[in-house]
């Protein structure tokens, strides 16, 4: 405990220092040095966080019976709002944050290593590492937050580092636009998050998670008294409003419909960044947020939770359909990410609290973990491919399996994992989600079941298009070759993780339910084969269809498309959501609100001020005839003045 408390600050301080050092002095270092320094330091951070997480899980020190205790390793006052509300910066350790520590440090470390190869020779190499460090700092800060405001603080920092990474190629218009979009959309969602926090904290008089989520006799107690439960605002219970708004914040970061539009565009950033931020870590922040506040959702606002599950279900199928029609490999992966995160949301949405009821919760976290691994793997593999062929488009690829063997194998493993084929990790996590959904809500289950099939289809479509299908028509500019070791090592490492976690789960070595559950108390579950088998079936069918269509270069895909031309076009254009947004921002916000306001300001408000001066000047000019220069007129004015004043003051 002591030891951990001493170590914990370094988890945050080291990346921050790296950011400052690389940011300020990066220019003066040679790129290689900065990369190595950055990676090494992050390696240390990873080690520390692994140590903390493992100590937490396995030392037994933090367990009382089966239950893991929430511990605050340190907590320092950062800003005091009033007597009750204090923003602190601290380190909260519980299974949730421990898992996240592992995920983040693993993926982040891999990305650090990977980038040494991928970003080699790019301008702004040091900048890239600086921002990576900033991101790691922010993300770690986010997951260990002791209070919701700390979370918000790091939430924003994560957002900005995402912005910086997306706009890494700032000389490209598309990158800048994408970065802007990402930032503004998430910012928009953050506003709701903030308002949610404000409402919640106003009524509960605290920001702290341990008070907010304190469970007492089956209720989130202490801060949620009965007055609060009956309080309404505009006819809605305030708690529900607050929690829904907070969820909206999470929805923005986690790219839930309709706030998902930024994520595909965010692929304009360098691929390692996409792997880290837009696949594995940042985008799951929303899920993490909901999980963090799960007791409140579960006990106080179950209907919001239900809403979350519907939104998640819709998003997952929506994104999966779009993914089927995309040709940019990173976009396919992006939509796949959206779909998978929605999966996790669904899992949370259908979960209950405590024991087996909380299966969804566990599954969600489990899926978060596995998904982070294989999705990061997919992205990095995609990066390796892009590195080799210098294009994102599927049309520029094909038949790469011989040329990029390691990439091929690891990519295949990841695809199998995501498609839910045992014994890869994805199968188990996805299976639990389906089970949870099945037990709670059949409709959601049906949707998710279908999505599982779709996932398998589009992933294998991707896989075949890249590695089989036949070489592109115009051939390769130069022969694609395998990436260097510092790029392939992370691929292999993550593939190994994917395989090993899957296998060890299958053999019951590690049970996720022991580690994490909604009430942090371990429980036992078994694989539900009655659900698992059909889901494998769905995956297989998806794979088969993809094989049929894309294994060889044939006319089949086009033919298939011609059957469903309209829907295909819609899916290809992402259901025109972007266009709607564009319309709203350009035509409504800019043209209908900003321009008129600016016009109003210049012409009415400012015009009024100018009018005043104009009137004064005009009055001055117009009255000059009074001063006509004729002495007789002066006298006349004089005497009339006297008479007028007399009349006014005597007879009025």
């Amino acid at each position: 405990m002591e030891q951990l408390a001493n170590l914990a600050p370094y988890v945050l301080i080291l990346p921050l220092c790296m950011f400052l050092i690389l940011g300020l002095f990066g220019k003066k270092m040679c790129p290689k040095v900065s990369g190595i320094v950055g990676t090494t330091v992050f390696g240390v951070v990873s080690v520390i966080s692994y140590y903390i997480a493992l100590q937490y899980f396995f030392s037994g020190e933090f367990q009382v019976g089966d239950t893991y205790q929430q511990v605050t390793l340190f907590n320092m006052e950062w800003l005091r709002m009033n007597q009750d509300l204090v923003i602190s910066i601290g380190f909260l350790l519980d299974p949730l944050s421990a898992i996240m520590l592992i995920v983040i440090s693993t993926v982040s470390l891999m990305v650090h290593i990977y980038s040494m190869g991928y970003m080699h020779g790019e301008g702004g190499f040091q900048r890239f590492y600086a921002i990576l460090s900033l991101f790691s700092f922010a993300m770690l800060g986010l997951v260990v937050a002791t209070n919701i405001f700390q979370m918000y603080i790091f939430w924003e920092l994560v957002g900005v580092s995402s912005f910086l990474l997306i706009s890494f190629y700032y000389f490209k218009h598309s990158a800048v636009r994408a970065a802007k979009k990402a930032f503004i959309v998430t910012r928009f969602a953050d506003m709701f998050f903030l308002i949610g926090i404000l409402i919640l904290s106003y009524y509960t008089r605290t920001f702290d998670f341990d008070k907010l989520t304190f469970i007492n006799e089956g209720h989130v107690d202490a801060v949620f008294n009965s007055d609060l439960r009956t309080m309404t605002f505009l006819g809605f219970p305030v708690i529900s409003i607050a929690m829904f708004l907070i969820f909206l914040g999470g929805a923005g970061k986690s790219a839930m419909f309709p706030l998902h539009i930024w994520l595909p565009d965010a692929m304009e950033g360098p691929t390692p960044a996409s792997a880290l931020i837009h696949a594995a870590t940042m985008v799951v922040a929303g899920v993490y947020l909901v999980a963090r506040l799960f007791p409140i959702y579960s006990f106080e606002t179950p209907h919001v939770l239900q809403m979350i599950s519907y939104i998640g279900a819709f998003t997952s199928i929506f994104a999966a359909i779009i993914a089927c029609a995309q040709t940019d490999i990173k976009r396919v992966l992006a939509f796949s990410t959206i779909s998978q995160i929605a999966y996790m949301m669904v899992a949370l949405g259908v979960s209950g609290y405590g024991g087996v009821n909380g299966l969804g919760y566990t599954a969600s976290m489990w899926h978060l973990f596995t998904h982070a691994m294989f999705k990061a793997l997919l992205f990095m593999a995609a990066g390796a491919i892009i590195h080799a062929v210098h294009s994102n488009e599927m049309d520029a690829m094909g038949n790469l399996r011989k040329k990029l063997p390691i990439t091929h194998i690891t990519f295949l493993i990841a695809c199998l994992a995501i498609a839910g084929i045992p014994p890869f990790s994805g199968f188990f996590s996805k299976d639990e989600i389906l089970v949870a959904a099945f037990e709670t809500n059949k409709w959601v289950f049906a949707v998710e079941y279908f999505v599982a099939g779709l996932t398998a289809f589009y992933m294998f479509r991707l896989y075949y298009r890249i590695f089989w299908f036949g070489e592109p028509e115009e051939g390769y500019e130069h022969e694609p070759h395998e990436a260097p070791l510092n790029m392939t090592f992370p691929l292999m490492f993550l593939a190994a993780v994917t395989v090993i976690t899957g296998i060890s789960w299958a053999f019951g070595k590690v049970s996720f339910t022991e580690l994490i559950s909604s009430d942090f108390t371990s429980y036992e579950i078994h694989t539900h084969w009655n659900i698992a088998l059909p889901s494998i079936g769905a995956g297989v069918i998806g794979i088969l269809i993809a094989t049929f269509l894309y294994l060889e270069k044939t006319g089949r895909p086009n033919k298939a498309v011609s059957y469903i031309k309209k829907p295909y076009l819609w899916a290809y254009n992402k259901f025109y959501i972007d266009e709607i947004y564009l319309f709203v921002t350009n035509n409504i916000i800019f043209q209908r609100i900003c321009q008129p306001i600016a016009w109003f300001d210049r012409h009415i408000i400012d015009g009024f001020m100018n009018l005043l001066s104009w009137v004064t000047n005009k009055a001055s000019q117009e009255t000059k005839e009074v001063q006509s220069g004729y002495v007789q007129q002066y006298a006349w004015v004089f005497i009339m003045g006297v008479i007028t004043i007399t009349l006014l003051s005597i007879y009025l």
């Binding site: 000059k624 001063q627 006509s628 220069g629 006298a635």
Partner: protein, 103 residues
Amino acid sequence: MNIPVEAYFILSTLLFFIGVYGFVARKNLISILMSVELVLNAANINFVVANRFLYPEFMEGHIYSLFVIAIAAAETAVAISIIINVYRQKRNIDAKSINELKY
């Protein structure tokens, strides 16, 4: 029966406004000056009448009139010298023509 004192005052008022009319309506500066004399005389009548009929104990109005007459003389002298000065420069004492300075 005596003439009511108001009659005197109204007489002076009428004289005063005749003077005012003259000031406003006359064409040349000397005529204007003459109108001013009428105005001053109107005031003088007031003083004298008020002294005689209303407050006869002391000679305030009487003396005031004397001073007004004296000062009017001085004023006229100065005014005429200025008018002559104007005439020297413009060869003209038309009230309309002295409006170089305006607006």
